[in-house]
Symmetry: C2
Subunit: 341 residues, 2 copies
């Protein structure tokens, strides 16, 4: 395995190409090992040669990306599932505020929860030499996304994500699991035993995490799937209460669906919280204006978007994980379990 001190760039930072040369492997293989990108597996012996060379040369992941970044465009991409959903609108706005401080332009793309479209946008932003991309939509469970991310990073751009999207990416991780737990503990503490859950689109990591947190406290709740909208929540509540009139509480996995749940319970003549308690998730601005005001989990969405954008732009080495806490906000839509049942 050829290795000389002259593989060290005069300017200081060691490049991925230098590591690949030192290890006697292709650039793609070195990237697969060091950036944790997906696709074909790398044989263990080969992987060890790469990590040994990287360590020998004191290679810092993303350093080449950083040096390249200086010659890139002033555009930063933000990929969201649905910009009409206030959850994503708030995250995007927080990210945009920070980008503006750095005098960068933000281009937001809507992926309609379509993993294929998400990859397309990422490839296109790479072709446009976008300086950085923020993956702000929840990942899809089991979705192989790492290859596109690695290609973007190798081309010199930075990538960060909100919620886990793969190894090696700067990530702000909202505590979706902990938030689900908080609601479950709150409802159980109020004496609720018969609880229905209105979940969001199957396959989204956010949905799986919120639900896992909840079911870690309350096993086997009644479940209905809905899309993440007010109308989805309204229809699901009618379905849930129609099938299970004994429920004393409904947990909607986001505030929009909780607003629909409150509307449905009004239509059913079931007073909240006297007969049925309702809880949401996100603490959107609308939560305080609902009647009754909504008990929910607060995520600091604009702050999450802002922190993720800072990770993209601060020129520090990547791979960081920044947790964003979830906080229970108790308002008027939850109360003691009704003893009528």
């Amino acid at each position: 395995m050829p290795r000389t001190s002259s593989t060290r760039a005069p300017g200081g930072a060691v490049t991925l190409q230098q590591v690949a040369t030192a290890a006697g492997v292709s650039l793609a293989t070195a990237s697969r090992v060091l950036h944790g990108s997906g696709g074909r597996r790398v044989a263990e012996a080969l992987a060890e040669r790469v990590t040994a060379a990287a360590s020998e040369l004191r290679y810092v992941a993303h350093a080449p990306a950083q040096s390249l970044a200086r010659s890139r465009s002033t555009v930063v991409g933000v990929l969201v599932h649905d910009i009409a959903d206030p959850y994503f609108a708030a995250i995007a706005a927080g990210a945009m505020d920070v980008a503006r401080e750095y005098d960068l332009m933000v281009l937001v793309a809507n992926t309609f929860r379509d993993p294929g479209l998400e990859r397309d946008y990422l490839a296109r932003l790479r072709a446009q030499r976008a300086r950085a991309v923020l993956l702000a939509g929840s990942a899809f469970v089991g979705e192989p996304f790492a290859e596109e991310v690695a290609a973007f990073a190798e081309s010199g751009g930075r990538v960060a994500a909100i919620g886990a999207h793969g190894t090696g990416i700067d990530t702000v991780e909202p505590d979706q699991y902990g938030g689900g737990r908080l609601i479950a503990e709150h409802l159980v503490g109020l004496g609720h035993r018969e609880i229905g859950v209105i979940t969001g689109p199957a396959g989204l990591a956010t949905v799986a995490q919120r639900l896992a947190g909840f079911t870690s406290v309350v096993a086997g709740p009644r479940l209905v799937h809905a899309d993440f909208t007010r109308e989805g929540g309204r229809a699901a509540t009618h379905e849930l209460l129609g099938r299970h009139p004994e429920l004393t509480a409904v947990f909607a996995l986001n505030d929009l669906m909780a607003a629909g749940a409150l509307a449905a319970l009004r239509e059913l003549g079931r007073p909240v919280p006297e007969q049925v308690s309702v809880a949401g998730f996100d603490d959107l601005p609308v939560a305080t204006d609902l009647t009754p005001a909504l008990t929910t989990v607060r995520l600091q969405l604009a702050d999450i978007g802002a922190r993720a954008m800072r990770l993209l732009l601060d020129d520090e080495p990547g791979g960081r994980l920044v947790p964003a806490p979830a906080e229970l906000v108790v308002r008027d839509s939850t109360g003691q379990a009704s003893t009528l049942h």
Copy 2:
């Protein structure tokens, strides 16, 4: 003035360059006359030569843009003031739905109501050879924007706007003025004479038009400026009622501010609508979930975004004006004027 039939392109469509050549003027001058772009004025004699040549050659505005467009990228830009404002999020989502039908990518840019930033984005989307741009944010009163728009169109891209932005652009024009009138007539019909208005950011055409419609019926209302947010509306209502306790109705120029007005009136212990009526504008989804449910003006925001995107993509000649009606939606937040005063 040289003019021969050979200036006609063999393929059919007459180009702007051919008109300019026939009229003996520069391309920029021809564009200024025929695309209505701003900047320097064109002497009347020169302008007449250009229009005569265009008529002689049967020049169709935007035809060269259309032929060029075929070689452009599959990116469409949408410029909004603030994507965190559900008004713009709904418009953008409607536009995105249509773009997806055409298999185009949409990049949304936030201009923070900064005319300079708006022009920057437009120039940048031109440099990236974006296929089309939708100016979805309200224009600024008196803002000279036409030159950037003309440059984009001349480079082969299409431009459309929501609300008037200048001559020669395809425009969807929501009836902001008519909506303001509808609210004024509704409140006057309920016997209100002392009406306060919470207006949005000064200088925005949307604000000016809504207010003009209102004051065409109710002269000299009490005015307070606020930004277009719930908190802005809340603070403005406290200010308004503090200075003018005799008011029996408050018209907030958008629903977010109306939500804040309802919160402020709750804090002040002034029942709605028994003591004070409240009306908003936009009919955001939140309007039905407020307590009391909000009387407002409905604009079909997603439909407006969708129609504007169709104008951009349908390959018809530009310069069209599509009105989008405003509709009064009476709910529970307005009632007969209190006779206590």
